[in-house]
Symmetry: C2
Subunit: 326 residues, 2 copies
Protein backbone atom coordinates (compact mmCIF):
# COMPACT_ATOMS: atom_id res chain seq x y z
CA UNK A 1 0.00 0.00 0.00
CA UNK A 2 1.51 3.34 -1.02
CA UNK A 3 1.72 6.44 1.17
CA UNK A 4 -1.14 8.00 -0.73
CA UNK A 5 -3.36 4.94 -0.32
CA UNK A 6 -2.59 4.81 3.41
CA UNK A 7 -3.48 8.46 3.87
CA UNK A 8 -6.60 8.09 1.80
CA UNK A 9 -7.84 5.05 3.71
CA UNK A 10 -6.92 5.92 7.26
CA UNK A 11 -6.56 9.65 7.61
CA UNK A 12 -9.53 11.04 5.70
CA UNK A 13 -13.01 11.53 7.08
CA UNK A 14 -11.76 11.65 10.67
CA UNK A 15 -13.63 13.60 13.29
CA UNK A 16 -16.79 15.67 13.20
CA UNK A 17 -18.27 17.07 9.99
CA UNK A 18 -17.95 20.85 10.02
CA UNK A 19 -19.20 23.48 7.58
CA UNK A 20 -16.13 25.72 8.03
CA UNK A 21 -13.70 23.54 6.04
CA UNK A 22 -13.87 24.52 2.34
CA UNK A 23 -10.99 22.10 1.56
CA UNK A 24 -10.21 19.07 3.71
CA UNK A 25 -7.36 16.49 3.51
CA UNK A 26 -6.20 15.91 -0.07
CA UNK A 27 -4.94 19.21 -1.54
CA UNK A 28 -1.65 21.04 -0.86
CA UNK A 29 -3.28 22.84 2.07
CA UNK A 30 -6.52 22.60 4.00
CA UNK A 31 -8.69 25.71 3.71
CA UNK A 32 -10.46 26.86 6.85
CA UNK A 33 -12.90 29.58 7.78
CA UNK A 34 -12.41 31.42 11.10
CA UNK A 35 -15.46 33.42 12.34
CA UNK A 36 -14.86 37.18 12.06
CA UNK A 37 -15.30 37.87 15.79
CA UNK A 38 -13.03 35.07 16.95
CA UNK A 39 -9.30 34.76 17.48
CA UNK A 40 -7.66 31.54 16.37
CA UNK A 41 -5.88 29.59 19.14
CA UNK A 42 -3.27 27.05 17.98
CA UNK A 43 -0.97 24.65 19.78
CA UNK A 44 1.44 21.99 18.47
CA UNK A 45 2.69 19.01 20.50
CA UNK A 46 4.78 15.94 19.79
CA UNK A 47 4.65 12.55 21.49
CA UNK A 48 7.80 10.47 20.89
CA UNK A 49 7.93 6.70 21.37
CA UNK A 50 10.12 5.79 24.33
CA UNK A 51 9.98 9.34 25.69
CA UNK A 52 6.29 10.18 26.06
CA UNK A 53 4.83 6.70 25.71
CA UNK A 54 5.99 3.09 25.64
CA UNK A 55 6.50 1.61 22.16
CA UNK A 56 3.93 -1.12 22.85
CA UNK A 57 1.25 1.37 23.93
CA UNK A 58 -2.15 0.44 22.50
CA UNK A 59 -2.51 2.47 19.28
CA UNK A 60 -6.16 3.34 19.98
CA UNK A 61 -5.19 4.90 23.33
CA UNK A 62 -2.34 6.71 21.61
CA UNK A 63 -4.73 8.14 19.03
CA UNK A 64 -6.87 9.46 21.87
CA UNK A 65 -3.98 10.86 23.87
CA UNK A 66 -2.20 12.57 20.97
CA UNK A 67 -5.32 14.66 20.37
CA UNK A 68 -6.17 15.04 24.07
CA UNK A 69 -2.91 16.79 24.96
CA UNK A 70 -3.59 19.46 22.34
CA UNK A 71 -7.22 19.89 23.37
CA UNK A 72 -5.97 20.39 26.92
CA UNK A 73 -3.95 23.40 25.68
CA UNK A 74 -7.05 24.83 24.00
CA UNK A 75 -8.96 24.30 27.26
CA UNK A 76 -6.30 26.25 29.14
CA UNK A 77 -6.95 29.25 26.85
CA UNK A 78 -10.74 28.94 27.12
CA UNK A 79 -10.92 28.09 23.41
CA UNK A 80 -13.58 26.07 21.59
CA UNK A 81 -11.92 23.25 19.59
CA UNK A 82 -12.43 23.25 15.82
CA UNK A 83 -9.74 21.48 13.75
CA UNK A 84 -6.64 19.33 14.05
CA UNK A 85 -3.71 18.39 11.81
CA UNK A 86 -1.57 15.30 12.30
CA UNK A 87 2.02 14.51 11.33
CA UNK A 88 2.72 10.85 11.93
CA UNK A 89 6.07 9.10 11.56
CA UNK A 90 5.86 5.30 11.43
CA UNK A 91 8.75 2.83 11.14
CA UNK A 92 6.76 0.73 8.66
CA UNK A 93 3.44 0.51 6.89
CA UNK A 94 1.12 -1.11 9.41
CA UNK A 95 -2.49 -0.70 8.34
CA UNK A 96 -3.89 -2.37 11.49
CA UNK A 97 -1.89 -0.10 13.79
CA UNK A 98 -2.90 2.95 11.79
CA UNK A 99 -6.57 1.96 11.76
CA UNK A 100 -6.59 1.51 15.56
CA UNK A 101 -4.77 4.81 16.05
CA UNK A 102 -7.29 6.52 13.77
CA UNK A 103 -10.22 5.00 15.74
CA UNK A 104 -8.93 6.46 19.01
CA UNK A 105 -8.26 9.84 17.42
CA UNK A 106 -11.63 9.85 15.65
CA UNK A 107 -13.69 9.02 18.75
CA UNK A 108 -12.29 11.93 20.76
CA UNK A 109 -12.42 14.26 17.75
CA UNK A 110 -16.12 13.53 17.18
CA UNK A 111 -16.91 13.92 20.88
CA UNK A 112 -15.28 17.36 20.83
CA UNK A 113 -16.56 18.52 17.45
CA UNK A 114 -13.07 18.49 15.92
CA UNK A 115 -12.29 17.76 12.25
CA UNK A 116 -8.93 16.34 11.11
CA UNK A 117 -8.20 18.66 8.17
CA UNK A 118 -4.64 17.76 7.22
CA UNK A 119 -1.94 15.21 7.72
CA UNK A 120 1.53 14.06 6.78
CA UNK A 121 2.60 10.46 6.99
CA UNK A 122 6.33 9.76 6.90
CA UNK A 123 8.64 6.82 7.45
CA UNK A 124 10.71 7.27 10.60
CA UNK A 125 10.93 6.46 14.31
CA UNK A 126 7.42 6.36 15.83
CA UNK A 127 6.44 9.94 16.63
CA UNK A 128 3.13 11.80 16.61
CA UNK A 129 2.73 15.55 16.20
CA UNK A 130 -0.71 17.11 16.44
CA UNK A 131 -1.66 20.74 16.00
CA UNK A 132 -5.03 21.80 17.37
CA UNK A 133 -6.97 24.90 16.33
CA UNK A 134 -9.80 26.54 18.27
CA UNK A 135 -11.78 29.76 18.56
CA UNK A 136 -11.93 32.25 21.37
CA UNK A 137 -13.91 35.53 21.45
CA UNK A 138 -11.44 38.31 20.62
CA UNK A 139 -9.72 39.57 23.78
CA UNK A 140 -11.25 36.93 26.09
CA UNK A 141 -8.65 34.15 26.05
CA UNK A 142 -7.42 32.82 29.40
CA UNK A 143 -3.77 33.76 29.65
CA UNK A 144 -0.94 32.96 32.05
CA UNK A 145 -0.19 36.51 33.04
CA UNK A 146 -3.38 37.69 34.77
CA UNK A 147 -3.01 36.28 38.31
CA UNK A 148 -3.17 38.95 41.06
CA UNK A 149 -2.35 38.85 44.80
CA UNK A 150 -5.40 37.68 46.70
CA UNK A 151 -6.65 35.45 43.86
CA UNK A 152 -7.53 31.88 44.76
CA UNK A 153 -5.55 29.06 43.15
CA UNK A 154 -7.77 26.21 41.97
CA UNK A 155 -7.30 22.93 40.14
CA UNK A 156 -9.66 20.55 38.35
CA UNK A 157 -9.92 16.77 38.81
CA UNK A 158 -7.18 14.97 40.73
CA UNK A 159 -3.37 15.15 40.57
CA UNK A 160 -0.72 12.45 40.31
CA UNK A 161 -2.85 9.63 38.87
CA UNK A 162 -0.94 9.35 35.59
CA UNK A 163 2.39 9.56 37.39
CA UNK A 164 1.46 6.70 39.71
CA UNK A 165 0.15 4.59 36.82
CA UNK A 166 3.45 5.07 35.02
CA UNK A 167 5.43 4.04 38.11
CA UNK A 168 3.41 0.82 38.26
CA UNK A 169 3.87 0.14 34.53
CA UNK A 170 7.62 0.76 34.72
CA UNK A 171 7.94 -1.51 37.78
CA UNK A 172 5.98 -4.27 36.05
CA UNK A 173 3.28 -4.01 38.71
CA UNK A 174 -0.45 -4.37 38.06
CA UNK A 175 -2.25 -1.06 37.42
CA UNK A 176 -5.90 -0.63 38.27
CA UNK A 177 -8.24 0.45 35.48
CA UNK A 178 -8.83 3.96 36.88
CA UNK A 179 -5.13 4.84 37.01
CA UNK A 180 -4.34 3.30 33.62
CA UNK A 181 -7.19 5.24 32.04
CA UNK A 182 -5.88 8.45 33.56
CA UNK A 183 -2.44 7.75 32.03
CA UNK A 184 -3.54 6.54 28.62
CA UNK A 185 -6.81 8.35 28.01
CA UNK A 186 -6.70 11.74 29.74
CA UNK A 187 -9.82 13.89 29.57
CA UNK A 188 -9.11 17.38 28.25
CA UNK A 189 -11.09 19.91 30.33
CA UNK A 190 -12.53 21.69 27.31
CA UNK A 191 -15.96 22.57 28.76
CA UNK A 192 -14.30 23.87 31.93
CA UNK A 193 -11.96 26.14 29.97
CA UNK A 194 -14.86 27.78 28.14
CA UNK A 195 -16.80 28.23 31.41
CA UNK A 196 -13.80 29.93 33.03
CA UNK A 197 -13.74 32.81 30.53
CA UNK A 198 -14.69 35.93 32.46
CA UNK A 199 -14.11 34.14 35.78
CA UNK A 200 -10.46 33.02 35.87
CA UNK A 201 -7.67 35.61 35.84
CA UNK A 202 -5.06 33.10 34.60
CA UNK A 203 -5.04 29.45 33.55
CA UNK A 204 -2.66 26.70 32.42
CA UNK A 205 -2.99 23.01 31.79
CA UNK A 206 -1.03 20.74 34.12
CA UNK A 207 1.12 18.66 31.78
CA UNK A 208 4.56 18.94 33.42
CA UNK A 209 3.37 18.77 37.04
CA UNK A 210 1.52 21.34 39.15
CA UNK A 211 4.68 22.91 40.60
CA UNK A 212 6.22 23.64 37.20
CA UNK A 213 3.01 24.72 35.49
CA UNK A 214 1.72 26.93 38.30
CA UNK A 215 5.26 28.30 38.33
CA UNK A 216 4.74 29.51 34.75
CA UNK A 217 1.63 31.44 35.83
CA UNK A 218 3.56 33.02 38.71
CA UNK A 219 6.49 34.11 36.54
CA UNK A 220 4.20 35.46 33.79
CA UNK A 221 2.03 37.29 36.36
CA UNK A 222 4.91 38.58 38.48
CA UNK A 223 3.65 37.16 41.79
CA UNK A 224 3.92 34.14 44.11
CA UNK A 225 1.62 31.55 45.64
CA UNK A 226 1.05 29.57 48.82
CA UNK A 227 -0.33 26.07 48.31
CA UNK A 228 -1.93 24.09 51.15
CA UNK A 229 -0.91 20.50 50.50
CA UNK A 230 -3.78 18.96 52.46
CA UNK A 231 -6.18 20.62 50.00
CA UNK A 232 -4.72 18.89 46.90
CA UNK A 233 -7.38 16.73 45.22
CA UNK A 234 -6.02 13.17 45.29
CA UNK A 235 -7.32 9.73 44.39
CA UNK A 236 -7.04 7.22 47.28
CA UNK A 237 -4.22 5.43 45.46
CA UNK A 238 -2.11 8.60 45.27
CA UNK A 239 -2.96 9.65 48.85
CA UNK A 240 -1.75 6.21 49.96
CA UNK A 241 1.68 6.72 48.39
CA UNK A 242 2.06 10.11 50.07
CA UNK A 243 1.21 8.92 53.57
CA UNK A 244 3.47 5.85 53.15
CA UNK A 245 6.41 8.23 53.55
CA UNK A 246 5.65 10.56 56.46
CA UNK A 247 9.24 11.19 57.53
CA UNK A 248 9.37 14.48 55.57
CA UNK A 249 5.68 15.21 56.08
CA UNK A 250 4.75 12.95 53.17
CA UNK A 251 6.12 12.45 49.67
CA UNK A 252 4.25 15.02 47.60
CA UNK A 253 6.35 14.71 44.42
CA UNK A 254 3.70 12.52 42.78
CA UNK A 255 0.89 15.13 42.71
CA UNK A 256 3.27 18.08 42.33
CA UNK A 257 5.83 16.96 39.79
CA UNK A 258 4.96 13.76 37.95
CA UNK A 259 3.20 15.39 35.00
CA UNK A 260 0.67 14.17 32.44
CA UNK A 261 -2.32 15.18 34.60
CA UNK A 262 -3.99 17.32 31.90
CA UNK A 263 -6.04 19.11 34.53
CA UNK A 264 -6.48 22.88 34.54
CA UNK A 265 -4.85 25.05 37.18
CA UNK A 266 -6.40 28.53 37.35
CA UNK A 267 -6.61 31.61 39.50
CA UNK A 268 -9.66 33.75 40.25
CA UNK A 269 -10.69 36.61 42.51
CA UNK A 270 -12.18 35.37 45.81
CA UNK A 271 -15.55 36.97 45.02
CA UNK A 272 -16.05 34.29 42.37
CA UNK A 273 -15.56 31.49 44.93
CA UNK A 274 -19.32 30.84 45.30
CA UNK A 275 -19.48 30.05 41.56
CA UNK A 276 -16.97 27.19 41.80
CA UNK A 277 -19.58 24.54 42.60
CA UNK A 278 -21.83 25.68 39.75
CA UNK A 279 -18.97 25.67 37.26
CA UNK A 280 -17.80 22.25 38.48
CA UNK A 281 -21.28 20.82 37.95
CA UNK A 282 -21.56 22.37 34.48
CA UNK A 283 -18.06 21.21 33.48
CA UNK A 284 -18.58 17.72 34.88
CA UNK A 285 -15.40 17.65 36.96
CA UNK A 286 -14.45 18.50 40.56
CA UNK A 287 -12.84 21.88 41.20
CA UNK A 288 -10.73 22.43 44.30
CA UNK A 289 -9.33 25.56 45.85
CA UNK A 290 -5.74 24.69 46.81
CA UNK A 291 -4.14 28.01 47.79
CA UNK A 292 -3.78 31.70 47.20
CA UNK A 293 -1.73 34.11 45.10
CA UNK A 294 0.47 36.54 47.07
CA UNK A 295 2.96 39.28 46.27
CA UNK A 296 6.14 37.44 47.27
CA UNK A 297 7.64 35.74 44.19
CA UNK A 298 7.98 31.96 44.31
CA UNK A 299 5.86 28.96 45.14
CA UNK A 300 5.48 27.90 48.79
CA UNK A 301 3.97 24.65 50.01
CA UNK A 302 2.46 24.35 53.48
CA UNK A 303 1.60 21.15 55.38
CA UNK A 304 -1.64 20.68 57.37
CA UNK A 305 0.20 21.71 60.57
CA UNK A 306 1.34 25.00 58.98
CA UNK A 307 4.96 23.82 58.49
CA UNK A 308 6.64 24.55 55.12
CA UNK A 309 7.44 21.65 52.78
CA UNK A 310 10.19 21.61 50.11
CA UNK A 311 9.71 19.68 46.85
CA UNK A 312 12.53 17.48 45.55
CA UNK A 313 11.55 17.75 41.88
CA UNK A 314 10.41 20.88 40.12
CA UNK A 315 8.72 19.33 37.10
CA UNK A 316 9.22 17.11 34.14
CA UNK A 317 12.00 18.24 31.84
CA UNK A 318 12.00 16.60 28.42
CA UNK A 319 15.75 17.00 28.17
CA UNK A 320 16.82 15.55 31.51
CA UNK A 321 19.02 12.54 30.93
CA UNK A 322 16.82 10.36 33.11
CA UNK A 323 13.53 11.90 32.03
CA UNK A 324 10.61 9.65 32.63
CA UNK A 325 8.54 7.95 30.00
CA UNK A 326 5.16 9.61 30.18
CA UNK B 1 19.91 24.23 30.10
CA UNK B 2 16.29 23.18 30.68
CA UNK B 3 13.67 22.71 27.97
CA UNK B 4 12.09 25.99 28.90
CA UNK B 5 15.37 27.89 28.72
CA UNK B 6 16.14 26.37 25.34
CA UNK B 7 12.77 27.34 23.95
CA UNK B 8 13.04 30.81 25.41
CA UNK B 9 16.49 31.44 24.00
CA UNK B 10 16.24 29.85 20.57
CA UNK B 11 12.62 29.66 19.53
CA UNK B 12 11.20 33.04 20.49
CA UNK B 13 11.36 36.19 18.41
CA UNK B 14 11.82 34.23 15.18
CA UNK B 15 10.60 35.62 11.88
CA UNK B 16 8.90 38.85 10.92
CA UNK B 17 7.07 41.05 13.42
CA UNK B 18 3.35 40.98 12.67
CA UNK B 19 0.44 42.86 14.22
CA UNK B 20 -1.98 39.91 13.92
CA UNK B 21 -0.48 37.81 16.75
CA UNK B 22 -2.12 38.81 20.07
CA UNK B 23 -0.21 36.01 21.87
CA UNK B 24 3.07 34.61 20.59
CA UNK B 25 5.27 31.73 21.86
CA UNK B 26 5.02 31.28 25.63
CA UNK B 27 1.40 30.57 26.59
CA UNK B 28 -0.60 27.34 26.20
CA UNK B 29 -1.61 28.43 22.71
CA UNK B 30 -0.69 31.18 20.28
CA UNK B 31 -3.55 33.55 19.48
CA UNK B 32 -3.90 34.69 15.89
CA UNK B 33 -6.13 37.04 13.96
CA UNK B 34 -7.33 35.99 10.49
CA UNK B 35 -8.74 38.82 8.30
CA UNK B 36 -12.52 38.52 7.88
CA UNK B 37 -12.43 38.21 4.08
CA UNK B 38 -9.70 35.59 4.00
CA UNK B 39 -9.68 31.81 4.27
CA UNK B 40 -6.90 30.25 6.33
CA UNK B 41 -4.66 27.81 4.42
CA UNK B 42 -2.67 25.36 6.57
CA UNK B 43 -0.21 22.58 5.79
CA UNK B 44 1.88 20.36 8.06
CA UNK B 45 5.05 18.51 6.98
CA UNK B 46 7.69 16.43 8.71
CA UNK B 47 11.34 16.00 7.77
CA UNK B 48 12.93 12.93 9.38
CA UNK B 49 16.69 12.46 9.76
CA UNK B 50 17.93 9.64 7.55
CA UNK B 51 14.75 9.71 5.46
CA UNK B 52 14.36 13.29 4.22
CA UNK B 53 17.84 14.57 5.01
CA UNK B 54 21.24 13.24 6.06
CA UNK B 55 21.95 13.37 9.80
CA UNK B 56 25.01 15.57 9.23
CA UNK B 57 23.07 18.11 7.14
CA UNK B 58 24.03 21.68 8.05
CA UNK B 59 21.48 22.83 10.64
CA UNK B 60 21.15 26.29 9.08
CA UNK B 61 20.16 24.75 5.72
CA UNK B 62 17.77 22.43 7.55
CA UNK B 63 16.11 25.39 9.24
CA UNK B 64 15.61 26.98 5.83
CA UNK B 65 14.33 23.82 4.17
CA UNK B 66 11.92 22.80 6.94
CA UNK B 67 10.08 26.10 6.47
CA UNK B 68 10.51 26.18 2.68
CA UNK B 69 8.64 22.91 2.09
CA UNK B 70 5.60 24.30 3.92
CA UNK B 71 5.75 27.65 2.13
CA UNK B 72 5.84 25.71 -1.13
CA UNK B 73 2.45 24.18 -0.17
CA UNK B 74 1.05 27.65 0.53
CA UNK B 75 2.39 28.80 -2.84
CA UNK B 76 0.57 25.92 -4.53
CA UNK B 77 -2.74 27.23 -3.10
CA UNK B 78 -1.98 30.85 -4.01
CA UNK B 79 -1.86 31.75 -0.32
CA UNK B 80 0.04 34.60 1.32
CA UNK B 81 2.24 33.23 4.16
CA UNK B 82 1.57 34.50 7.69
CA UNK B 83 2.62 32.21 10.55
CA UNK B 84 4.45 28.98 11.30
CA UNK B 85 4.63 26.55 14.20
CA UNK B 86 7.52 24.17 14.80
CA UNK B 87 7.73 20.82 16.60
CA UNK B 88 11.35 19.79 16.92
CA UNK B 89 12.65 16.49 18.28
CA UNK B 90 16.35 16.48 19.17
CA UNK B 91 18.41 13.57 20.53
CA UNK B 92 20.17 15.89 22.97
CA UNK B 93 20.38 19.49 24.07
CA UNK B 94 22.68 21.13 21.55
CA UNK B 95 22.45 24.90 21.78
CA UNK B 96 24.84 25.50 18.85
CA UNK B 97 22.86 23.21 16.56
CA UNK B 98 19.60 24.81 17.64
CA UNK B 99 20.94 28.33 17.17
CA UNK B 100 22.13 27.53 13.63
CA UNK B 101 18.82 25.85 12.81
CA UNK B 102 16.96 28.89 14.14
CA UNK B 103 19.12 31.23 12.01
CA UNK B 104 18.19 29.40 8.81
CA UNK B 105 14.52 29.30 9.75
CA UNK B 106 14.52 32.95 10.80
CA UNK B 107 16.14 34.26 7.61
CA UNK B 108 13.55 32.65 5.33
CA UNK B 109 10.71 33.55 7.70
CA UNK B 110 11.69 37.23 7.69
CA UNK B 111 12.11 37.25 3.92
CA UNK B 112 8.57 35.89 3.54
CA UNK B 113 6.92 37.92 6.32
CA UNK B 114 6.28 34.82 8.44
CA UNK B 115 6.22 34.78 12.26
CA UNK B 116 7.04 31.65 14.30
CA UNK B 117 4.14 31.70 16.78
CA UNK B 118 4.46 28.36 18.57
CA UNK B 119 6.77 25.47 19.16
CA UNK B 120 7.35 22.21 20.96
CA UNK B 121 10.81 20.91 21.71
CA UNK B 122 11.08 17.24 22.68
CA UNK B 123 13.81 14.70 23.21
CA UNK B 124 13.78 12.03 20.50
CA UNK B 125 15.25 10.99 17.15
CA UNK B 126 15.99 14.11 15.04
CA UNK B 127 12.77 15.11 13.33
CA UNK B 128 11.28 18.46 12.31
CA UNK B 129 7.58 19.16 11.84
CA UNK B 130 6.46 22.57 10.62
CA UNK B 131 2.94 23.81 10.09
CA UNK B 132 2.51 26.88 7.90
CA UNK B 133 -0.50 29.18 7.88
CA UNK B 134 -1.45 31.63 5.14
CA UNK B 135 -4.34 33.68 3.82
CA UNK B 136 -6.22 33.41 0.57
CA UNK B 137 -9.20 35.53 -0.59
CA UNK B 138 -12.31 33.45 0.11
CA UNK B 139 -13.12 31.19 -2.84
CA UNK B 140 -9.96 32.04 -4.82
CA UNK B 141 -7.50 29.35 -3.70
CA UNK B 142 -5.68 27.38 -6.39
CA UNK B 143 -6.94 23.81 -6.13
CA UNK B 144 -5.97 20.50 -7.72
CA UNK B 145 -9.34 19.76 -9.26
CA UNK B 146 -9.83 22.58 -11.76
CA UNK B 147 -7.79 21.41 -14.79
CA UNK B 148 -9.85 21.15 -18.02
CA UNK B 149 -9.12 19.56 -21.43
CA UNK B 150 -7.30 22.06 -23.61
CA UNK B 151 -5.53 23.74 -20.65
CA UNK B 152 -1.80 24.20 -20.94
CA UNK B 153 0.44 22.42 -18.41
CA UNK B 154 3.23 24.67 -17.11
CA UNK B 155 6.03 24.39 -14.57
CA UNK B 156 8.26 26.91 -12.81
CA UNK B 157 12.05 26.84 -12.48
CA UNK B 158 13.90 23.66 -13.44
CA UNK B 159 13.30 19.99 -12.61
CA UNK B 160 15.60 17.29 -11.26
CA UNK B 161 18.30 19.50 -9.70
CA UNK B 162 17.74 18.31 -6.13
CA UNK B 163 17.52 14.69 -7.23
CA UNK B 164 20.85 14.95 -9.06
CA UNK B 165 22.48 16.69 -6.09
CA UNK B 166 21.31 13.87 -3.83
CA UNK B 167 22.73 11.23 -6.19
CA UNK B 168 26.11 12.97 -6.04
CA UNK B 169 26.00 13.25 -2.22
CA UNK B 170 25.03 9.61 -1.82
CA UNK B 171 27.79 8.50 -4.20
CA UNK B 172 30.36 10.59 -2.34
CA UNK B 173 30.91 12.68 -5.48
CA UNK B 174 31.54 16.44 -5.49
CA UNK B 175 28.38 18.54 -5.94
CA UNK B 176 28.50 21.95 -7.54
CA UNK B 177 27.15 24.89 -5.56
CA UNK B 178 24.07 25.39 -7.76
CA UNK B 179 22.84 21.81 -7.36
CA UNK B 180 23.60 21.66 -3.62
CA UNK B 181 21.71 24.88 -3.07
CA UNK B 182 18.74 23.50 -4.96
CA UNK B 183 18.74 20.42 -2.67
CA UNK B 184 19.39 22.14 0.63
CA UNK B 185 17.85 25.57 0.20
CA UNK B 186 14.86 25.30 -2.14
CA UNK B 187 13.07 28.53 -3.04
CA UNK B 188 9.33 28.32 -2.36
CA UNK B 189 7.47 29.95 -5.28
CA UNK B 190 5.29 32.11 -3.04
CA UNK B 191 5.07 35.19 -5.26
CA UNK B 192 4.25 33.01 -8.26
CA UNK B 193 1.41 31.27 -6.40
CA UNK B 194 -0.23 34.58 -5.56
CA UNK B 195 0.16 35.80 -9.16
CA UNK B 196 -1.49 32.65 -10.49
CA UNK B 197 -4.80 33.29 -8.68
CA UNK B 198 -7.39 33.99 -11.38
CA UNK B 199 -5.06 32.64 -14.06
CA UNK B 200 -4.31 28.98 -13.22
CA UNK B 201 -7.14 26.43 -13.19
CA UNK B 202 -5.19 23.99 -10.98
CA UNK B 203 -1.83 23.96 -9.20
CA UNK B 204 0.36 21.71 -7.07
CA UNK B 205 3.90 21.93 -5.77
CA UNK B 206 6.35 19.41 -7.14
CA UNK B 207 7.70 17.67 -4.05
CA UNK B 208 7.39 13.98 -5.00
CA UNK B 209 8.36 14.37 -8.67
CA UNK B 210 6.47 15.89 -11.59
CA UNK B 211 4.89 12.60 -12.70
CA UNK B 212 3.37 11.85 -9.30
CA UNK B 213 2.32 15.42 -8.52
CA UNK B 214 0.84 16.23 -11.91
CA UNK B 215 -0.86 12.84 -11.55
CA UNK B 216 -2.69 14.18 -8.46
CA UNK B 217 -4.04 17.11 -10.51
CA UNK B 218 -5.21 14.73 -13.23
CA UNK B 219 -7.00 12.38 -10.82
CA UNK B 220 -8.61 15.27 -8.91
CA UNK B 221 -9.67 16.97 -12.16
CA UNK B 222 -10.82 13.78 -13.92
CA UNK B 223 -8.67 14.23 -17.02
CA UNK B 224 -5.31 13.30 -18.54
CA UNK B 225 -2.25 15.06 -19.93
CA UNK B 226 0.33 14.82 -22.67
CA UNK B 227 3.81 16.06 -21.72
CA UNK B 228 6.45 16.90 -24.33
CA UNK B 229 9.73 15.82 -22.76
CA UNK B 230 11.90 18.10 -24.88
CA UNK B 231 10.07 21.06 -23.33
CA UNK B 232 11.01 20.18 -19.71
CA UNK B 233 13.07 23.00 -18.16
CA UNK B 234 16.42 21.45 -17.23
CA UNK B 235 19.73 22.69 -15.88
CA UNK B 236 22.69 21.65 -18.06
CA UNK B 237 23.79 19.16 -15.39
CA UNK B 238 20.44 17.36 -15.48
CA UNK B 239 20.20 17.49 -19.27
CA UNK B 240 23.64 15.86 -19.38
CA UNK B 241 22.47 12.87 -17.32
CA UNK B 242 19.45 12.37 -19.58
CA UNK B 243 21.38 12.38 -22.81
CA UNK B 244 24.04 10.07 -21.34
CA UNK B 245 21.48 7.28 -21.64
CA UNK B 246 19.85 7.56 -25.05
CA UNK B 247 19.07 3.87 -25.50
CA UNK B 248 15.49 4.35 -24.29
CA UNK B 249 15.25 7.88 -25.68
CA UNK B 250 17.02 9.28 -22.63
CA UNK B 251 16.68 8.65 -18.89
CA UNK B 252 13.97 11.07 -17.82
CA UNK B 253 13.44 9.67 -14.31
CA UNK B 254 15.53 12.46 -12.78
CA UNK B 255 13.28 15.38 -13.81
CA UNK B 256 10.07 13.33 -13.61
CA UNK B 257 10.40 11.29 -10.44
CA UNK B 258 13.27 12.34 -8.19
CA UNK B 259 11.29 14.78 -6.02
CA UNK B 260 12.28 17.71 -3.82
CA UNK B 261 12.01 20.22 -6.69
CA UNK B 262 9.57 22.55 -4.87
CA UNK B 263 8.55 24.10 -8.17
CA UNK B 264 4.90 24.77 -9.04
CA UNK B 265 3.13 22.76 -11.72
CA UNK B 266 -0.06 24.44 -12.90
CA UNK B 267 -2.64 24.37 -15.66
CA UNK B 268 -4.25 27.33 -17.40
CA UNK B 269 -6.52 28.03 -20.39
CA UNK B 270 -4.51 28.72 -23.57
CA UNK B 271 -5.91 32.26 -23.80
CA UNK B 272 -3.74 33.15 -20.79
CA UNK B 273 -0.55 31.97 -22.56
CA UNK B 274 0.52 35.52 -23.51
CA UNK B 275 0.59 36.41 -19.78
CA UNK B 276 3.19 33.74 -18.94
CA UNK B 277 6.18 35.96 -19.66
CA UNK B 278 4.75 38.83 -17.59
CA UNK B 279 3.99 36.54 -14.65
CA UNK B 280 7.44 34.95 -14.88
CA UNK B 281 9.09 38.36 -14.74
CA UNK B 282 6.96 39.46 -11.77
CA UNK B 283 7.54 36.17 -9.91
CA UNK B 284 11.26 36.17 -10.62
CA UNK B 285 11.40 32.62 -11.99
CA UNK B 286 11.16 31.00 -15.42
CA UNK B 287 7.83 29.50 -16.44
CA UNK B 288 7.68 26.83 -19.13
CA UNK B 289 4.77 25.33 -21.00
CA UNK B 290 5.42 21.56 -21.05
CA UNK B 291 2.22 20.01 -22.35
CA UNK B 292 -1.54 20.00 -22.50
CA UNK B 293 -4.50 18.59 -20.60
CA UNK B 294 -6.73 16.19 -22.57
CA UNK B 295 -9.81 14.11 -21.89
CA UNK B 296 -8.15 10.68 -21.85
CA UNK B 297 -7.23 9.75 -18.24
CA UNK B 298 -3.55 9.17 -17.51
CA UNK B 299 -0.24 10.87 -18.10
CA UNK B 300 1.51 10.41 -21.42
CA UNK B 301 5.09 11.42 -22.22
CA UNK B 302 6.20 12.15 -25.76
CA UNK B 303 9.78 12.39 -27.07
CA UNK B 304 10.95 15.08 -29.51
CA UNK B 305 10.37 12.66 -32.43
CA UNK B 306 6.75 12.12 -31.35
CA UNK B 307 7.41 8.62 -29.96
CA UNK B 308 5.89 7.74 -26.56
CA UNK B 309 8.19 7.25 -23.55
CA UNK B 310 7.42 5.13 -20.45
CA UNK B 311 8.73 6.18 -17.00
CA UNK B 312 10.32 3.57 -14.74
CA UNK B 313 9.44 5.30 -11.49
CA UNK B 314 6.15 7.00 -10.68
CA UNK B 315 7.28 9.17 -7.80
CA UNK B 316 8.84 9.16 -4.40
CA UNK B 317 6.99 7.00 -1.90
CA UNK B 318 7.92 7.61 1.74
CA UNK B 319 7.07 4.03 2.62
CA UNK B 320 9.03 2.21 -0.08
CA UNK B 321 11.61 -0.07 1.51
CA UNK B 322 14.41 1.54 -0.46
CA UNK B 323 13.03 5.07 -0.41
CA UNK B 324 15.62 7.67 -1.11
CA UNK B 325 16.99 10.17 1.33
CA UNK B 326 15.70 13.51 0.15
Amino acid sequence: MSEFDLIRTCLTGIGALRDDVPIDVGDDCALLHVPADRELAVSIDTLVSGVHFLADCAPEALGHKSLAVGLSDLAAMGAEPAWATLALSLPSTDADWLAAFARGFDALARAQGVRLVGGDLTRGPLSITVQVHGFVPAGHALRRDGARPGDLVCVSGALGDAGLALQHVQNGEPVDAYLLDRLQRPTPRVALGELLRGVATAAIDVSDGLAADLGHILVASGCGARIELDRLPLADQVAGVITANMARGGDWDLPLASGDDYELCFTMPPEHAPELAVIAAAAGCPLTRIGEIDRRPGLRFVLADGQPWQPQQTGYDHFKGASKIT
